[in-house]
Symmetry: C2
Subunit: 336 residues, 2 copies
DNA sequence: TTGTATGCGTTATCAC
DNA sequence: GTGATAACGCATACAA
């Protein structure tokens, strides 16, 4: 392996100058810089990151901590973050919390042990606050939270526009002529779901409709609970459902089919998250898309910005987008 | 940050001993080791990975290079690898090639610059051989290939049992009474697809049926080409199709529906890869599952084994598994 | 603009 | 079984 000393010797200068030339210091003659760069290229020099990290006390890497990497949402966030960080010379170290606080702590310790420059994290479900994060994160690392965030932790927070998304999804149903719209709200322990519920309610109110707790279902957002909620919604006279998740929306479709109602003519459905399957099923499922890749990019950008002295990034909103598919599109039959 | 010197001072011994104690050297008294461990715990010591890496000339990390991290297959492989590596104290650095040789080379250089202990890679589509990998990988790193592999490269190769999988998928259709089974074979530039085609053919032969090139379709395995192939297959008298991909199987379903045929009574379909949507659609799609998570685990294990002097790992096969769903299950009507 | 000197924290080699 | 010493490759404070 070739080092800066090798380059220095070949050129009859000292390692310090080579180091300066290579790291773009202004205190070096242009001709020297060029000579150094040429020689580095020629010898196939590559900086030893470990040595550099040791000397500087931190590594050109950021850790990303997510519950599970093999979930589409998170792997897309990582992909987005990687695309930005890569451009700026940062490696990405990934860690999974498996939705366990214990593993989250372990990951933070490992990242601290590596002196990473930043930590991008979306916390595990059981967390009730960010104390364990504060206690275990490298105090010199920049903390960026995304999607699942605690507002009492310092640093940037990148979140979806949940309120606005749910609002638009609900309004879309109303505008398509549906008149009694249920809601699958999810557990309200997460801020995101609280906001979605509020968006749903406000849309109803703004469009002159009433909020009826009878047809709001608080439960996990998996297919089975969606199915149960769907049955009740139909029983209670709904002709549409806005669901805070796609899997629960899928369950609603099961229930609607079972009841022999036609989608979208007799029953409309909008889900949330725009999971891949929503576009592949028949009928395809309308959904409020989150943009995880973009969220990852913004998280990475927030990290980079935070590195600059004096810079401060607060909460960053990532727009959601209504993807209209078959399950809610009866406007073509002119009902409105 | 507390260092081994801090521990040494507190204990009135030297850093060398602390280092030995912490790294589990046998040449240290038990009582000393325990004292060191207690003190390390108490002071909240964590090894500086950069210093350790510099001294040892390599880092406790492996790089994983995949075309895209946000593809279910690859993110699951990464998840599996991470689960094993994490247990052994290795970090995972992820890199995406975006299916470009250029980015692959860039990733390998970055990993070499970091002196990673191993590289787990699934190569980009345009690669025709492994030369650019050999030229750019850290010669001291263990190379492990998975899924998309070049047999002329050294080191372990982890692959799916493509031949056997396709064989079983095809046999399953035959056993369910389908009598003219088409095949969507995919591009044969990849070894995996060649093997799947062979499995399909051999299954037909073994079950006393003929191979008819008229109903074998060589093309990309996306939904649209699946649809086109499906139309031709129906035209040419098929009552079933085995597809080397799930998306193309989805296209076949489109074609079958358009032709007004009932699934699975009048037409059977088996796909490959067991993408998430296959279990969520109606009718659900039977598919030959790959086990990416397991593949990742085995790749990581192969890396760990290869570290041991003298050890040699060659090709490792990961079983595929037939997931029988609605699109091929007419055995209950007793046609066979 | 360049050179000199030093140290980052760890581990390996040698001596005792 | 432990200690002393050196070195990994780089980046910086200081001197020139």
């Amino acid at each position: 392996m070739v080092t800066i000393s090798d380059i220095a010797k070949k050129l009859g200068i000292t390692p310090s100058t080579v180091s300066r030339a290579l790291s773009g210091s202004p205190r070096v003659k242009n001709s020297t810089r060029e000579a150094v760069e040429r020689m580095a290229e020629q010898l196939g020099y590559e900086r030893n990151e470990a040595a550099s990290s040791l000397r500087r006390g931190k590594i050109n890497a950021v850790g990303i901590v997510v519950p599970r990497i093999n979930r589409a949402f998170f792997s897309n966030v990582i992909g987005g973050a990687e695309s930005v960080l890569d451009e700026h010379g940062y490696s990405v170290i990934i860690c999974q919390s498996h939705e366990k606080i214990e593993d989250e702590v372990k990951a933070l310790k490992m990242l601290r042990s590596n002196r990473v420059a930043g930590v991008l994290i979306s916390h595990a479900i059981p967390s009730e606050n960010g104390n364990h994060i504060l206690e275990n994160i490298d105090p010199n690392a920049v903390l960026v939270q995304f999607d699942r965030v605690f507002s009492d932790l310092p640093g940037p927070r990148i979140v979806s526009e949940n309120y606005k998304g749910a609002y638009e999804g609900t309004r879309h149903l109303i505008e398509n002529g549906y008149r009694r719209i249920g809601n699958i709200a999810g557990y309200l322990s997460s801020e995101a779901y609280v906001q979605r519920l509020q968006g749903y309610k406000q849309a109803l109110l703004d469009m002159g409709m009433e909020v009826d707790e009878e047809i709001i279902f608080y439960d996990s957002i998996v297919r089975e609970t969606g199915y149960q909620a769907g049955k009740l919604a139909i029983e209670r006279g709904c002709d549409a459902v806005y669901s805070a998740g796609d899997y629960s929306a899928l369950g609603v479709i099961d229930a609607v089919r079972e009841a022999g109602l036609r989608i979208p003519d007799e029953f409309g459905i909008v889900g949330t998250a725009n999971e891949q399957f929503t576009g592949l099923m028949t009928p395809s499922l309308s959904s409020m898309a989150q943009h995880p890749y973009e969220m990852g990019r913004r998280a990475a950008q927030a990290f980079l910005t935070s590195l600059k002295p004096g810079a401060h990034v607060g909460e960053v909103s990532v727009p959601m987008e209504l993807i209209i598919r078959e399950s809610s599109s009866r406007n073509h039959i002119g009902i409105l």
